[in-house]
Amino acid sequence: MRTALTVLRKDLLLELRAMETVPAMVLFAIVTFVIFHFGLNRATIEGQLAAGVLTVTLLFASMLGINRLFVAEREQGGFDAFLLAPVDRSALLVAKAAALFTFLVVLELVAVPAFGLLLLGPPLGPRLLGLIPVLALADLALAVIGTLVSAIAIQTRARDLLGPVIGLPLLIPALIATARGTGPLLAAHTSGSPPGKWLAILALYDAVFALLAYALFDFLLED
């Protein structure tokens, strides 16, 4: 656990100093909202359409972070250093997933209010509390699958290509649950609480793939 915290601290510090990934993700998300405005030719959207736009934007923005996740390890010998250290290898998975999760939360702290401001028809305020559990579980899914796929893709020749191509189909169940879970929240009239069915499915998805990733991650590091 201490190893994971150390690596996480390293990653967050690196991001804080270099400001490389998260600002790009935020900008990408906002530009995507603008594109959706013109693409859909709508001033405001609501309900399932709004949920779809939000989910797709967050997903594609997260792909930027997923592609960058292991680049420093690969290019500057972090993998070798980590393998030489007498530490549990799963710590790298935990640390990287936690870093990605943090990036996604920061992204959403900016992108969700921006979405409310730019595109969402009904006011965002009363819906915010219901959105938090859905987005948190969705971030967990993106963080787990993203770390696993990124660790696979970084060792291939076409690394920026394979990550999204493998990651997107794997994430489809989580995205269905996220979009359907947020749809009723973003409708004109809402009860303000997300549908329990989709929260349960997201939680199940997170649990299954987190366990799988934990079991399999060691094999991606051996050399």
Partner: protein
């Protein structure tokens, strides 16, 4: 090294007999569907293809787990061939399914059918298996990464089906469940024989490809031993394990 050619002839004969029986049953024994008429008979090839292909994907995941546990290359070969064959069967299932949808619902594609949609998602995921293998050069790492992928994707198959099924507000009436559903007797018998035929076909092709790959590997090893390293041209980069 195991010999995969053993028993291949017997298996092939059983497969041919079962498939012929299934075809006879489909065309001369099973009654015409009251609603859909003759086109419904594509069901006897489409559904078995899809079921066998999904089982093949899960099997590939199990073999992949075997490779990760034992570290033996033969498990990777088994996993690769299982997924490779399942992909071919899956494309067949998708094409026959689409044909059936066109004939019975009037569209080539029907988003309302959760089984069809989940099947497409699974196929899209496994379509990245070969590109993934191809883009890793080191053979040892290639097989290890491919096995990790196979295990994750194998677990993904049931998960995906549950979620897509739940996402439909109106699920089409399920004529078919794994227990045979509410098919009338003659139709169920025909279906079970067709399913057995396709499953046997999968097993035969799997065994055949394993035998061929093994024979090629052994022939190369023998040539190298007899004629020296220079006599054997190095293999080109490939997605297949060697």
């Amino acid at each position: 090294m195991s010999i995969y050619g053993r028993g291949l002839r017997g298996l092939a004969i059983v497969t041919v007999v079962t498939i012929s029986t299934a075809l006879v049953l489909v065309f001369f024994y099973a009654p015409l569907d009251a609603d859909q008429g003759f086109i419904q008979k594509i069901f006897y090839i489409h559904v078995p293809l899809a079921i066998v292909s999904l089982c093949g994907f899960v099997l590939g995941g199990l073999f992949g787990a075997g490779h990760l546990r034992t570290g033996e290359r033969k498990w990777d070969m088994r996993s690769y061939v299982a997924i490779h064959m399942a992909l071919i069967f899956g494309v067949g299932g998708l094409i026959t399914g689409s044909t059936w949808a066109k004939a019975s619902w009037g569209h080539w594609w029907e988003w309302g059918d959760p089984t069809l949609v989940s099947f497409l998602i699974v196929l899209l995921l496994f379509a990245t298996y070969q590109p993934l293998r191809f883009s890793i050069e080191d053979p040892e790492r290639q097989s290890r990464y491919a096995s990790v992928f196979a295990v994750v994707a194998g677990a993904f198959v049931p998960m995906n089906f549950i979620v897509v099924r739940l996402s439909q507000e109106f699920v089409h009436p399920r004529v078919l469940t794994l227990t045979g559903g509410n098919l009338p007797g003659p139709m169920r018998l025909t279906f079970v024989v067709s399913l057995a035929g396709i499953a046997l076909l999968y097993a035969t092709l799997w065994k055949y490809e394993m035998a061929a790959k093994n024979a090629r590997g052994q022939a190369r090893a023998l040539r190298r031993a007899l004629l020296g390293d220079d006599a054997v041209r190095p293999l080109g980069r490939s997605a297949a394990p060697s």
